[in-house]
């Protein structure tokens, strides 16, 4: 007796589960059972699961019977002549969708040649074992699987034409690549997904060599001439938006240039780009702290302020200014209303990003790296025919990662650019390397892709033959300009008087627990003290009672319980003073005993 579950609910049991499952599958292939049904027999726990619920990931496979694919040449011819559709194939039981559970019961062949009588299904194409983005990796069947994973992950971070209507959009944190190109070495998925309409990279000439030590540990060298010709430039967009909010009591925000009386008024200089409506004009070039949209808000606690403050009823400044460390040109402005009917102003800034040392690049094979040096064109090594690489990639990135696909792409790219055709590099179904090599030889190059190169400084021939080819390189969205941060002094937290956190607010760089341990281990005791004294403060201690004393506004020292003037000054961290205060607050009475360090 085998229990049967329908959509994970028990509905009954059957005597012969294997026959039962087989029967249902047959009926499904005859379209007498809906094709969305999947059935799975788990022989270990002896249970049958039937499922037609929503949200299962299913994928199509060709049905195989007796080691023969049910999809024949005849069907393909019919498909080509538009006499048959995909739905017909499914309805006729030639192709069926399996979910994760039913896949456990099947034996799927990757290629038709591999079919044996035990097989139950056949992949439509070997590439279908990959997802959309993974199948964009050329020659991926020649690489290591974990690198393929990374390769498909980095492609999602590449800058490109992310949307054709980008001019009308207000996306946060997006970039647009200038002069994007379609890859020369491509898989069929590039055509299928109309990659030409949203490309995300450029074809560059890559030499695999080390040069002057600037491409160690996954860094890359880029030709300055290429950058000046526009390689890997991008535009970074950042929208700033402001809403005229309504408050209780009929008070409203007001978009406009703030008056000088307004609380928190910045400076006239900061508002210089605003027009009368309080919004910057298009094409204004703004820098850090410049106001993009001017706005004032009503005072916060109206009732209380009227009684006590002289400056009652003064509005607050609440403009939106350029973020810390950023800059840009006003690109696009929208003035509209939001769902609540409030006035909404959005300003989009653009900033051209020219590749600089620290920007991140990657090929499609999980080989990512950062620019280590930008070398003037005259200092780049050149081949016998005078070709200078756009990019120099380190050979040390290859042996341990075994990304053979990276090398094959360079070779295929070379053939593609020389012969003027695209190379099909679909996984499992690509143009064979031997053919490419032969073609390269016919084109007048060494068949293994290497070339004689010359030292640009001395003009000497290099002893090694350098592997050089063309590859599709991606500029990734991690650019140093968005990450660079340093600080000497700056804002502190109100409570602890320690530096605030975070790059956006100009915060400090934390010397953490483990870094502290390093200083301790070196015995650098005074350096440690100096590094941690950002919140140092002097407190006064009554030497008799051990209480904290104060200095009043006349400069007199006063202790809580004793009248003696025996009060010592001690330098401690403010955090410690705070700790003492907090202990006092929950009823612990800390005392400090002083002792001269010279006795």
């Amino acid at each position: 007796m085998t229990d049967v579950y329908l959509n994970e609910k028990f509905i009954g049991s059957v005597d012969n589960p294997e026959n039962f499952v087989k029967k249902i599958r047959e009926e499904r292939r005859r379209a007498r059972v809906p094709t969305i049904v999947n059935i799975y027999y788990n022989s270990k726990v002896n249970e049958v699961y039937i499922d037609y619920s929503n949200g299962r990931a299913r994928r199509p496979l060709i049905v195989v019977e007796d080691g023969k694919s049910k999809l024949s040449e005849f069907h393909i011819a019919q498909l080509e002549n538009n006499e048959m559709t995909w739905d017909d194939l499914v309805q006729q039981g030639l192709i069926e969708y399996l979910d994760a559970a039913e896949e456990e019961n099947s034996y799927v062949a990757l290629k038709e040649e591999e079919l044996t009588p035990e097989h139950t299904h056949l992949e439509i194409s070997p590439v279908t074992i990959f997802g959309l983005i993974t199948s964009l990796v050329p020659y991926s069947n020649f690489g290591q699987s974990s690198r393929l994973n990374r390769g498909s992950k980095t492609q999602k971070q590449a800058l490109g034409m992310y949307a054709s209507n980008y001019l009308m959009r207000m996306d946060t944190d997006v970039s647009l690549l200038h002069y994007p190109q379609t890859p020369l070495v491509r898989s069929f998925m590039h055509d299928l997904s109309s990659y030409d309409k949203h490309p995300a990279g450029q074809n560059v000439t890559v030499a695999i060599m080390s040069y002057r030590g600037y491409n160690m540990s996954d860094s890359i060298i880029i030709n300055k001439g290429s950058i000046q010709r526009g390689l890997a430039r991008s535009t970074f967009f950042r929208p700033y938006s402001i809403e005229e909010l309504r408050y209780s009591g009929g008070l409203v925000d007001e978009i406009g240039i703030p008056d000088k009386e307004v609380k928190g008024y910045k400076s006239e200089h900061d508002y210089r780009f605003l027009e009368e409506d309080g919004i910057v004009y298009p094409e204004a070039s703004l820098r850090e702290d410049d106001v993009v949209i001017g706005k004032t808000s009503p005072p916060r606690f109206l009732g209380e302020l009227e009684e006590f403050s002289i400056a009652a009823n003064v509005r607050r400044e609440s403009s939106s200014a350029i973020r810390h460390g950023e800059q840009g040109i006003v690109d696009f402005i929208t003035i509209t209303e939001n769902e609540e009917g409030n006035k909404l102003v959005r300003v989009r800034l653009r900033d051209q990003r020219i590749p600089e040392v620290g920007d991140k690049f990657a090929s499609r094979h999980g080989q990512k790296g950062i620019i280590g040096a930008i070398i003037p064109e005259q200092d780049m090594p050149f081949t016998a025919s005078g070709v200078k690489p756009d990019l120099i990639f380190s050979p040390h990135s290859l042996p341990s990662r075994m990304t053979i696909s990276h090398l094959i792409e360079a070779l295929a790219g070379k053939v593609a650019s020389l012969s003027g055709r695209y190379i099909n590099a679909t996984s499992f179904n690509a143009e064979p390397q031997e053919k490419l090599r032969k073609e390269l030889l016919e084109l007048g190059f060494r068949e293994n892709g290497t070339e004689v190169m010359y030292n640009p400084i001395t003009g000497e021939e290099m002893k090694a033959r350098i592997y050089i080819g063309n590859m599709y390189y991606l500029k990734l969205k991690h650019m140093v300009a968005n990450k660079l941060h340093s600080r000497a002094s700056g804002r502190i937290q109100l409570l602890t008087r320690q530096p605030i956190e975070g790059r956006a607010r100009g915060g400090g760089l934390r010397l953490g627990e483990m870094e502290k341990d390093c200083l301790v281990a070196h015995g650098a005791s005074l350096l440690l003290k100096e590094r941690f004294d950002s919140d140092k403060s002097v407190i006064h201690i009554d030497e008799e009672t051990g209480d904290i004393a104060i200095v009043d506004r006349h400069g007199r020292r006063r202790a809580q319980k004793s009248s003696s003037a025996n009060i010592g000054d001690v330098e401690v961290s403010y955090a410690f003073k705070l700790l003492l205060d907090e202990l006092t607050a929950f009823g612990i009475y800390p005392k400090i005993k002083l002792k001269s360090k010279y006795h």
Partner: protein
């Protein structure tokens, strides 16, 4: 003559020096030179005052720890005897966990027995904990007669050297309110002495019988005699050192357990210290790493200095720290501060972390020495 240097050198070095002196005939002058040089070398290789050995030890373990593989099981020898190794084992040792995850013993035998595989096998069978189910082929409940019938596995019984009589005796001793007898067809019958037993109770009896301890040393679930350097050694899974030491065939001077608390119970604190050292070294060696033995010695000393084994945890050695602030900064600060305030504790600010908190130079390295300068009076011209 060299007696005068005895106080200036550690005993072990001094003794070694004596040996060397015997082998080489030195003149008095040469001997003095030798000792002067020796003392100078010894003094210069000591750790400087103010060196932060604690942090350096921690870092010396921490860094290789990042490289350790997470494949924690390692098969020792042939059979399915496995031991936890790697980082989890190291944590287990230094935390001084009461229950080791894979306790095991290495039992050496006395000279008369350690050359003969059969003797080793016999002793191994003595040590192995045997439960009734291991000797049975099948347990079945006879509903009609309201009794449990057990078919015996004769081969297993022979291997473990258990006779029917022995089995019957132990069973009737340990199973109360049950009559145990043997049928002619070798099955053993367990019948509750109470009349009208319910089926449920019979089932309970069956389960209880399966787990009945027959012989051996409790806790030792597996034994494995292996040949190691020309003698037979018994490896075990499960540890009970105290009971093993009662067997006369066991070489008590060499047998050991990887359970530090077992060693502590059976042999005392010095042995426990050595066990910590051995076990930590074993992990580090097995991973192909290199940590200086002095770091391990230091940790072992720290853990055992109080006379019992204390782990490097908040309930272990950290609770021995003098400073309130140091304890509070490690774990559970509120509890420590409240306890300290109830007792009216004082903090002398003598160690590292307290001084970091109050932002004073830590008494280490450059922060340790005070400087006393004698200022010359300016000479009158």
């Amino acid at each position: 003559m060299s007696e005068e240097y005895k106080d200036q050198l550690p005993l072990s070095i001094w003794e070694e020096a004596q040996k060397e002196l015997k082998n080489n005939n030195l003149t008095k002058k040469q001997e003095k030179e030798f000792f002067d040089k020796l003392i100078e070398t010894y003094k210069s290789s000591r750790i400087t005052p103010g060196e932060s050995i604690g942090v350096i030890t921690a870092e010396s373990f921490g860094e290789p720890g990042t490289q350790m593989t997470l494949n924690i099981f390692h098969f020792a020898g042939v059979a399915e005897l496995n031991v936890t190794l790697g980082l989890p084992r190291l944590i287990e040792i230094f935390d001084a966990r009461k229950e080791a995850s894979t306790p095991s013993m290495e039992i050496y035998l006395d000279k008369e027995y350690n050359k003969d595989i059969n003797a080793a096998k016999r002793i191994a069978a003595l040590i192995k904990e045997t439960k009734f189910w291991e000797l049975a082929q099948e347990f079945s409940i006879n509903i009609a007669k309201l009794q449990v019938e057990v078919t015996l596995n004769k081969k297993n019984m022979r291997d473990l050297r258990i006779t029917d009589q022995m089995l019957l005796k132990t069973l009737s001793e340990s199973m109360k309110d049950t009559t145990v007898r043997q049928n002619k067809d070798d099955t053993i019958v367990l019948k509750p002495s109470k009349e009208n037993t319910e089926l449920k109770e019979l089932y309970k009896l069956k389960e209880k019988a399966k787990e009945t301890f027959i012989k051996g040393i409790s806790g030792v679930t597996q034994v494995l005699p292996i040949k190691q350097n020309n003698e037979f050694v018994i490896l075990t899974a499960g540890s009970n050192l105290k009971e093993v030491f009662k067997l006369k065939e066991v070489d008590k001077s060499r047998s050991t357990s990887n359970d530090i608390f077992e060693v502590l119970k059976a042999l005392g604190i010095e042995a426990a210290r050595q066990a910590i050292i051995n076990e930590a070294l074993k992990v580090i060696r097995e991973q192909g790493l290199d940590v200086d033995i002095r770091h391990i010695l230091f940790i072992a000393d720290l853990m055992t200095a109080s006379g019992t084994v204390k782990g490097i945890t908040r309930s272990g050695i950290t609770s021995d720290k003098e400073s309130v602030l140091a304890r509070a900064s490690f774990e559970t600060p509120i509890r420590h501060i409240i306890d300290a305030s109830l007792l009216g504790e004082e903090d002398e600010l003598t160690s590292v972390i307290e001084n970091v908190i109050v932002n004073q130079p830590v008494p280490l390295g450059t922060g340790l020495p005070g400087l006393i300068a004698r200022i010359k009076k300016p000479e009158a011209k």
